[in-house]
Subunit: 407 residues, 2 copies
């Protein structure tokens, strides 16, 4: 049967996540991959999670093996509320301010379903996290691309766009701005306190929502922790958190925190999207949080990640400092460093050479929605060993040299 003419408009517009295609070889031992943003499985508290899982399946089977509510496990919400009180000084949350999701990706999907239409605008970073862009694209909104500077989004640029929309009487069609304020994916950039306050003010002045995606906030190795935007502006902010980077991605648990009128709508959307999250994984996380300060327990992982980040920055300096044509970000946390080459460089073209030389990265062009920039690449430092990082950056240099020759 010929299926083409049965597909929806969305399907015809959807492309497979290029990153997954490019990183197919990542498992090959001869290849050093700076590609994926996955945590090191050795950092997961597997034995304790195993004991908890045994216990909740034996003692709480009437919950853990049965359907859950769409809203999510209140035991998990209770523990997460405690965590936010302790670490974020957020002390006003009720269960109906939270929805448990299948990772942050589902939160982004629900936000797209509930808030976006073809005539809507949504503002995103330039570059922007590709999983978010893909979720939003399903609703075919118009994107405002806001350049990412060293201290976060260019808010002067954004404000000019807001004024334009207002003059066109289209400002109400701007549903939200999407930001990853801490160690943004892909750039590793953190939004300054001033900009967080300014963005919060803009959202009130121009009446739009802020979608604050914060998967990496607790992965700060150095520098001063900044308050999240939600804590300054709970009226207009949706805070997205996930356990994928701080406990385990295998549980697939994300949380949307926000005004209850919005959470209610996301809950109704989730009813038809997948009815509910698995009860088992939610209760395992709840019982783990009950007995652990997962943020404190991150400290060894953070030491590990920081040292790997330093190793990568040092290696970049060694290999590339004599060429003025390459620059890179210096993140204080998270998983990623963002390289920028001269504008004649096309990192997607370069990728084949890199594959042959046994080093993988993510070409930057995947992270743009309107105006594609081709001279960037994203490097992740969390998984390879220190020696692999040094060797990988060495290989990267010769990849760049060969690329320049053939070009």
């Amino acid at each position: 049967m010929e299926f083409e003419n049965k597909f929806s408009k969305v399907t015809k517009s959807m492309k497979s996540n290029i990153i997954r295609e490019l990183l197919k070889d990542a498992a090959n031992p001869n290849i050093i991959s700076f590609g994926g943003g996955v945590p090191d499985p050795e950092t997961f508290p597997r034995n304790e999670l195993a004991e908890i899982s045994l216990k909740v399946l034996k003692d709480e089977y009437k919950f853990t093996l049965q359907y859950a509510t769409t809203e999510g496990d209140n035991e998990l919400k209770k523990q997460y509320i405690k965590l936010l009180e302790k670490h974020e000084h957020i002390d006003w949350l009720n269960y109906d301010n939270m929805l448990i999701t299948v990772g942050s990706q589902q939160a982004l999907h629900l936000i797209s379903m509930v808030l976006l239409d073809e005539e809507s605008y949504c503002a995103v970073g330039k570059p922007v996290y590709l999983g978010a862009a893909n979720a939003f694209k399903q609703s075919f909104p118009k994107f405002l691309e806001i350049p990412i500077k060293e201290d976060g989004m260019d808010l002067e640029f954004f404000e000019a766009k807001l004024k334009e929309l207002k003059n066109k009487h289209e400002i109400e069609k701007l549903k939200f701005v999407y930001v990853v304020p801490n160690f943004q994916n892909p750039t590793g950039v953190t939004m300054s306190l001033e900009k967080r306050k300014k963005l919060s003010e803009l959202s009130k002045e121009y009446n739009f929502l802020i979608v604050e995606d914060d998967p990496y906030g607790y992965l700060r190795f150095e520098g001063e922790k900044l308050p999240n935007i939600y804590s300054m502006n709970p009226e207009r902010t949706l805070l997205l958190n996930t356990f994928s980077k701080i406990l385990s991605p295998g549980l697939r648990i994300g949380i949307i925190i926000g005004p209850k009128e919005l959470i209610r709508q996301f809950t109704i959307a989730k009813q038809s999207a997948d009815l509910c999250c698995p009860s088992l994984t939610q209760r395992i996380a709840a019982r783990y949080l009950e007995n652990h300060d997962i943020i404190k327990e991150l400290e060894p992982s953070l030491k590990l990640y920081k040292s790997k980040k330093d190793t990568m920055l040092e290696a970049l300096k060694v290999e590339f400092e004599n060429t003025s044509k390459v620059s890179w970000t210096k993140p204080e946390g998270g998983l990623f460093i963002w390289l920028t080459f001269d504008e004649s460089t096309n990192t997607m073209e370069m990728f084949e050479i890199a594959r042959k030389k046994g080093v993988l990265y993510v070409p930057g062009e995947s992270f743009y929605v309107n105006e594609i920039e081709k001279n960037h690449m994203r490097l992740s430092f969390c998984l390879p060993s220190h020696d692999e990082i040094k060797e990988g950056i060495r290989r990267l240099r010769s990849v760049v040299e060969d690329y320049k020759k053939v070009k």
Copy 2:
């Protein structure tokens, strides 16, 4: 902040699942609920699942605590392929014919995303499972409602509709027909072998897909097992299965089986919907299937459900046989019996009296998309005890009597 004007068209059209609202009191011990379609938690193999969970978290943590692929766990697919070979004589499946989903609800959501647009048609039963209708409605298709007879969909009615579409040159806009061939939700009706063959022929003649949702197929207590439509027509059929009724709903595992070109598109859609299912729950199910014939293990549950179904049919006979104005289906499996009252009866109006008298059911009107019928109700027999079933049906009779008086 006023959120109304920020909501999408989908959101404005979405209503909360009324069933969940109506059944809020189901937990109240003084109330007998024939409402939900949830299995009895005592039937779950909790101790073995607990041991398996302990083991896969300790020994397979690099998989179970890490991100999974969007396609799903191949270990689970391998075991499910064996199950289908043994119990359905389906022996041609590869991994790329299958996608693991968060329950069947996500499968229905992905089908809506990938296949339906506003100008599309999709054919559904009259009545139809409400979770499916809600998933499809998000894409605003035109619905063809096909009456459900004692032996399944009225295919003469359907064929007349197909001819109409063909004459209007709109037949290509018909994307699929949605059927629950075994013990349909809500009616409990099973589609005859003749009709399965006929529907399969129609799908070839008029070039549409068949979405065969089969959550209850293995819950047959009596009568002869019928081959599923997928086995007759794998070219044009999507078979939806779930572990919710045969192992445990708490794992939230569903499977879409079909042509690999379609599975590929569902996989891309799932990438942006939630990236992947939890690795842990998938691997637990895989290891359980490896060592168990879950279909054989269902036998005690089936005995239990059959005896409860017989008790309910007997009670209905005792309480209602002297009134010609009530009729009901006699399912050979599944979870539901469907009652039909005279057309002056409105089971939603009647619901308040039922609540007061301590018996809950699902008013039939929830299961229609175009022409609403108000004189039906769905009763589930799987959870209450035999005595509760008898008492509940006794209460139901006095509910009906009181309703007639006030009316």
